[in-house]
Symmetry: D2
Subunit: 303 residues, 4 copies
């Protein structure tokens, strides 16, 4: 059986967009694709795919905590000319605590980042290569939702369930959609509802359904630009092998594909079921955090 390293080498995009490239498969979102995607805005309705950033989020504490929101000013006890009052606030948070894009500096193996940059480019000063702000202009185009849980008729897939190429094909067929080069692919597993039903962060974080390594090849064959899911790590956990997060390793480090985690597809999926259209315009620009390895986002799907 092929190891993830062998798979990664076989599917590698290193050098494909030049030796200086830092955005990987996001290069696949061409201007033409964006123009075509604009035609998907037909009813003018929007779906915010971000989850709330709050201390009631799914993080268990430890290395990743929920966002901490603190008020610097509330408007009280101020004395400005004319009676003006203002409120200001602060946030402390991991850039990986809720809905986010992974930067291409977020994951690596064998001492190299995507496109062959030495992993020493990431240090306590942040990422000198493949930082998240490299993607600041480009993440807008056609989004496609594959509602795997919906097609299977379950509220959510179970933790450890491996989403296969067959599952992806089945969903495409059921939805009447063809995944194309440059698409931002949205995989609904229903796992978001494990958290929202009872607010059980521990259950949400204990594992998840998600992509397996065979699906990585499926994404590569179609030249998907990015993949997002409603779980917290894209891939099935526990995984198919003893390796830690092999899907991350191949997608981010070998393909140069950003991963979108902790998206909320519930309203969007309900709408897609209703109108039968699983494609939409998607705008999800990361914040321009300098040298960061990820960014919180609030992706906007527009139909």
């Amino acid at each position: 059986m092929e190891t993830y390293r062998e798979l990664g080498k076989r599917l590698s995009n290193w050098g494909r967009w030049g030796e200086e490239d830092e955005i990987g498969t996001i290069n696949l979102i061409t201007p033409e694709i964006r123009v075509a995607a604009a035609a998907l805005i037909q009813r003018g309705v929007t779906f915010d795919l971000g989850i709330p950033f709050s201390q009631d989020g799914p993080q268990p504490g430890g290395n990743r905590v929920n966002p901490l929101h603190l008020m610097r000013e509330t408007g009280e006890n101020q004395d400005f000319p004319g009676g003006f009052h203002f409120a200001d606030d602060y946030v402390v948070m991991p850039l990986q605590c809720a809905t986010q894009w992974d930067g291409l500096s977020h994951v690596f193996y064998d001492d190299h980042l995507y496109n062959g940059y030495p992993s020493t480019n990431v240090d306590s000063h942040g990422a000198a290569k493949n930082a998240i702000d490299a993607l600041s202009k480009d993440v807008a185009g056609r989004g496609v939702l594959l509602d795997i849980a919906g097609v299977k008729g379950v509220e959510n897939l179970e933790a450890g369930y491996v989403v296969t190429p067959e599952d992806l094909d089945e969903a495409c067929a059921a939805h009447g959609v063809v995944v194309r080069s440059g698409d931002i692919l949205c995989i609904r597993t229903g796992w978001r509802t494990v958290f929202t039903r009872a607010g059980d962060a521990a259950a949400f974080m204990a594992g998840e359904p998600g992509l397996g390594l065979a699906s990585v090849e499926w994404l590569r064959e179609r030249d998907v630009a990015a993949v997002a899911s409603d779980n917290w790590a894209i891939e099935a956990l526990p995984g198919e092998t003893d390796d830690a997060l092999p899907v991350h390793c191949v997608l981010i480090r070998d393909l140069g594909m950003t991963l979108g985690e902790m998206f909320d597809f519930e309203e969007l999926a309900a709408d897609c079921r209703e109108d039968g259209r699983y494609e939409f315009f998607l705008a999800a620009p990361p914040l321009k955090f300098a040298r960061a390895v990820g960014s919180p986002i609030n992706p906007l799907a527009i139909k």
Copy 2:
């Protein structure tokens, strides 16, 4: 002469979208407007209007500091099965430190927020009404750039320069654009370049050119949905009167209009000058910070 309170009362939108409304003029971005705006995506090119979020930003310290970016993991000294390594990072920042939307809870006077909510809704727990996440779905539509500095032929307007209705009309005429209901209006003063030319945060923060009270009425007459600028407070500083930030007071508290601050219009303006089109699709969703009075953003203009 009319005080800002009198002006605010005359132009007030309180109750216009119901007693429960918390999004104000963003209501004016209708689905139809969004569909029409999609047709502005003709070349598929994007412009990221956010400034970098970094410790080299324009904040002078004190109540508002620049974003503090710290690495939790760099990938070094990790020992995961299969050789996986990951980097994680944290940010500490004021939600008002760089490119942002103001929540309608950000500014008030006379003990009431927009739509009549008592200002006690904002306390150390955040904003119970008019929080920024109320806008999470809606900020996508037609953007229009009025390049006041460009029309005047200057690199930047001077601090204290008051942008008047005549200036706005002049720019509309020069650009061949008509500002309409539901537009997200982008006012370029060139002030961004005061910071970028020499990195002088103190000069950038010492004052700014910007809107005056007469322009507030101009915005209200056209039913603009939101207004953004490349300065840090939308309005001229020092201002027209001794009142602190009267344009903020009327726009946010009386009209219920969100303000976009510290946008970067430089690349966009250059493109508009070249192709003669000052309108574009604009997607600028705030992050869904619960109970927050503002949100950092990276607005995406698409032509």
Copy 3:
């Protein structure tokens, strides 16, 4: 039965040290007491009563999280003349997350702080009165340990166990110590071990043994300067009445007594058992956090 308000009024120290006083019973640590306490330093051994400040601490998340320690510099990838390297770090933490003194602005009722200051003195800018840095010079003197759990012969008292005046008297008799005016009283309940035995933060936070209202009067009669314990809130939880934290209310707001929480007495208590001396020199200066309502500390007991 006397309510906590009635008890507080009866025992009140308001005005006792003048209308401007902000340090309360810490006034009772006179220079003479400090000189006498110095004579308790006989073997030169020290006991650090602070618990570790780390993300593995007892905080459950939510409003109070464990300290978050992040590296700004690790020494790597630096290039200073002569080969110098340095490491720097940051902390984000509640001032109440581990071993701490409560400021006299930390708790109040009926709109007034200790010594009659209106509670509006505490706002989003911090505490304008009774801030923790008022105590910055004074917290050094005689400490006395009452090892209640030890006297009872249990590893720890149970959650909800109310430490009574009889318990305090019994411990004094067993230890051969008399509690005097100006003493910093240390109450060992053994509750610290509920956390250290199995690292169970939830069990540690679910309740605790601690002082009851009758013991408050006992402290007042002896004119104790401060009281510290190895639980997280000094008082029995669940408490004797339906009121939230009545012991806090009377001690801090009426007596003006600072409370020391989450101390670790394990090594000290073992030593006291061995040498039979339950008194010692105690130095526990709060950090000079301006306008803060509490401070993390590492109290040093010296025998």
Copy 4:
């Protein structure tokens, strides 16, 4: 001329207290010294040598910012049984932003920390060796103030002024004090007043008077346990050579001596001038920050 490396090698304490040692010269504070120091508590007066931790501190921003103090609860809008109200607060700060001890992991050269530990022990997870909490029990003993500025009759020494062994001897003679093994030596340069006189953080940080390399040898000959000063980096800046911070390098990395920075000696020095006694009991325990490379402190001098 001897390089700092040669000096460091000649004066090295590596191995002196065993291969496992992580506290260096703090070992020199013996129990006997502590008992003798207690006898210096004769009037019972205290001097808090910490500077305020506030956003008005001397940090210029960038890598080290001033402490950021934010309120989590102010007591308002709470509804607890019985009328209890509480305030809670957070701090975000560099552990090196105000009065502090340097951990022995704070500075290194040639890939090794104090006592020969590889510098890879410091990474994004903090310091695995020589962390500041190693000192948590021990920093209490005899303090000696050498008021160099006072002896010279100036408000403050100038930036770049190198404090020499002759200066130290002169101060000892003037004060009638002998520096002995295990002393915590406090060097007053008056530099603190450069900040307090006009609040000019830039002037305070632009340089400083302080120790030179010859004084390092003086400290080593007397076996001082720790050295603290009222500047921000102990040593003269600009320094005697082109090397960056050579005094840090030798003191911390070769001698294993912790450095105390940004102490405030003004009140203490005035008292010493008055009573003629420049020795005192000093208790300055660091907070027990796990894996940290330094700790904020509020040192207490007691006479």
